[in-house]
């Protein structure tokens, strides 16, 4: 317990600190024995060893962050020097990772105890995690010579992405701008209109809703080969798959949302002698908006998946799914990853745009108001 009070570290943090220091000592010893270690790596390991002094005097958390950064740079500089990385290199990676974890652990503790602002530094942690993941991916794939067909390094993927921008743009246009957007608009629109029609008949509602819920759980993506036969190889067949995939979530969510307005609110509309369409437009649709946007968000992901997978079944020689399936066959895995990176960015941006519209439209909803306060 005395160590805990001296250093101001929790038990997990103390173990991490001791581990980082011990690994640094071991790495330093091995590096000195081997004698071929570059200066920057030696400096990092030496400073890492020096942090063991924290058992005597407190070390601010920024030192851990700085060590993490320094270790990362030293590792990246060492990477091209060897064909097969020596053991102290991996120990340095381990130490660097331990410093990163310790830093994040101490940072989140500082945020929890309100020593640091959560708004600024809370964002730093996930960013750091993402960068660390990319970094470890890069160092491990290049350092351990992972076969490129299994996993290319991020830097390789990035160069490939820059080199094949025209291909990627053409694929993006074919899949996203044509198939996904058209199918998404038609599927969500149809689901919305059918939901409003169905809503007028309680009988249909009872009959269609369980079926709609059931269909939502089915592997609808399997209709892709049928749609390719019906609508041909071009984007129309992919849009048809997207329509089928997005229709039911929209239908089910809109019908559920239209039931959200409470009877007391409907009674109020009745005392105003509001017509059906007035009640619908002024009360029930706004009340249903959170549900409708939920469906729109679910569908944004589904639409992209549907269009990409449908292209596995046949397409003109352009499109994200086509590129992925053919380049995998040619073992051009870095181009596949580049395509996936584009798909990921497109998917997140699509989702983000809808989430922004949702915030603007459902500004009155508790979840949005709570988010702003």
């Amino acid at each position: 317990m005395s160590a805990t009070t001296n250093t101001g570290l929790s038990r997990l943090q103390l173990w991490l600190a001791l581990g980082a220091g011990a690994v640094s000592v071991l790495g330093l010893a091995l590096a000195l024995v081997a004698g071929d270690a570059p200066v920057h790596l030696l400096a990092f390991l030496l400073l890492g060893t020096a942090t063991l002094l924290r058992l005597r005097l407190p070390v601010p958390l920024w030192i851990d962050g700085l060590l993490m950064l320094m270790g990362a740079i030293a590792l990246l500089l060492t990477l091209p020097l060897f064909v097969a990385e020596p053991s102290y290199f991996w120990l340095a990676l381990l130490a660097c990772w331990a410093f990163a974890w310790l830093f994040v652990e101490r940072l989140s503790q500082a945020i929890r105890t309100r020593q640091l602002s959560g708004r600024v530094f809370g964002l730093l942690i996930p960013v750091l995690f993402g960068v660390a993941l990319l970094f470890i991916w890069e160092v491990v794939t290049r350092g351990a010579n992972v076969p490129q067909v299994l996993l290319p390094a991020p830097s390789q993927i990035w160069t490939r992405l820059l080199a094949s921008v025209p291909t990627l743009v053409a694929d993006f246009q074919q899949t996203f701008l044509k198939a996904v957007l058209a199918g998404y608009a038609m599927g969500c629109g149809a689901g919305f209109i059918v939901a409003i029609l169905v809503d007028r008949s309680p009988f249909l509602k009872r009959g269609l809703l369980p079926i709609g819920n059931f269909v939502s759980a089915l592997p609808i993506i399997g209709i892709a080969p049928i749609m390719v036969m019906w609508f041909g190889f071009d984007w129309q067949s992919k849009a048809a798959v997207v329509v089928a995939m997005t229709f039911f979530p929209m239908l089910v969510n809109t019908v559920a949302g239209l039931n959200q307005a409470s009877s007391i609110e409907r009674d109020l509309m009745r005392t105003y002698a509001a017509s059906y369409s007035q009640t619908l437009l002024k009360l029930r649709l706004p009340a249903a908006a959170p549900f409708i946007f939920n469906a729109l968000k679910i569908n944004s992901t589904l639409a992209l998946i549907g269009a990409i997978v449908a292209e596995f079944f046949g397409t003109p020689i352009v499109g994200m799914g086509f590129r992925i399936s053919t380049e995998v066959g040619k073992l051009n895995i870095d181009l596949v990853w580049a395509e996936i990176a584009v798909a990921a960015v497109a998917g997140s941006a699509f989702y983000g745009v809808i989430a922004l519209i949702e915030r603007a439209v459902t500004f009155w909803h508790p979840s949005v108001r709570g988010g702003r306060a």
Partner: protein, 293 residues
Amino acid sequence: MQQLLAGKTAPILIVLLAIGLFWYAAAIWMNAPWQTTLNQRAGLENVSATEFIGQTWSQDKPVLPAPHQVAGEIWNATVGTDIASKRSLAYHASITLSATLLGFALGTLLGIGLAVVIVHNDASERSLMPWIIASQTIPILAIAPMVVVGLGAVGVTGLLPKALISMYLSFFPVVVGMVKGLRTPEAIQLDLMHTYSATPWQVFSKLRWPASIPFLFASMKVGVAISLIGAVVGELSNNAGGGLGVRLLTGSYNGQTIQIWAALFIAAALAAVLVIAVGAAEKLANRAMGVRA
């Protein structure tokens, strides 16, 4: 009659009946052009309307097979064929099912494990949660062919690559649901455990875990459905392995529409059975935990 209509069964049956009728009508309409060509080639003239309709419902490779054709194919390919045979749909369904279940089990375990870590460690929540949510917006299924081929290149083939895709898809809903579920105990309940001087493990096993069970089953229902999708899509990239996805793919290459529809319906039935099984497990768990319906 009034009572019957007020329930759910009658409306569902009527809607299903309407879909069936619509399907038969669409089959006539969509198959008619090709049937006319066929009849002209065969030199058949003056085919009566009923005979023509019968013809459109019994083509070899129809644009839209009639429901009874699909049902017949399912019957032939399951009951009528030896299970070990490669033409048996039961054989292919069992391959897909085993990949789905393995992936689903792995995904659920991984999801629960991650959720436990996230709930108990502040730093990992701050680092992991935003990425887990962001990854929901990414079309993950697109990596399926790469996983299959990449792992195949280093010698991992068969069930595992497909199961990994299923795992990858099914762990997201479990993490998100379980983090919510493990957080449902209120401060007052946690305080009570504190006054009992309960260890962290006791707090977890006696309070957090039981409180999260409803969330676990809700997530598992979503997870099992997308596990199946993952397994089917994983099969699209590996023609040799067999499975419902391979049936879809070979059917689409050979224009065997009836085969595609049969595989599709088996996949749908599989999804339904899996979701219902998770629902049944939920009921059993609820009863064992003394939840009143």
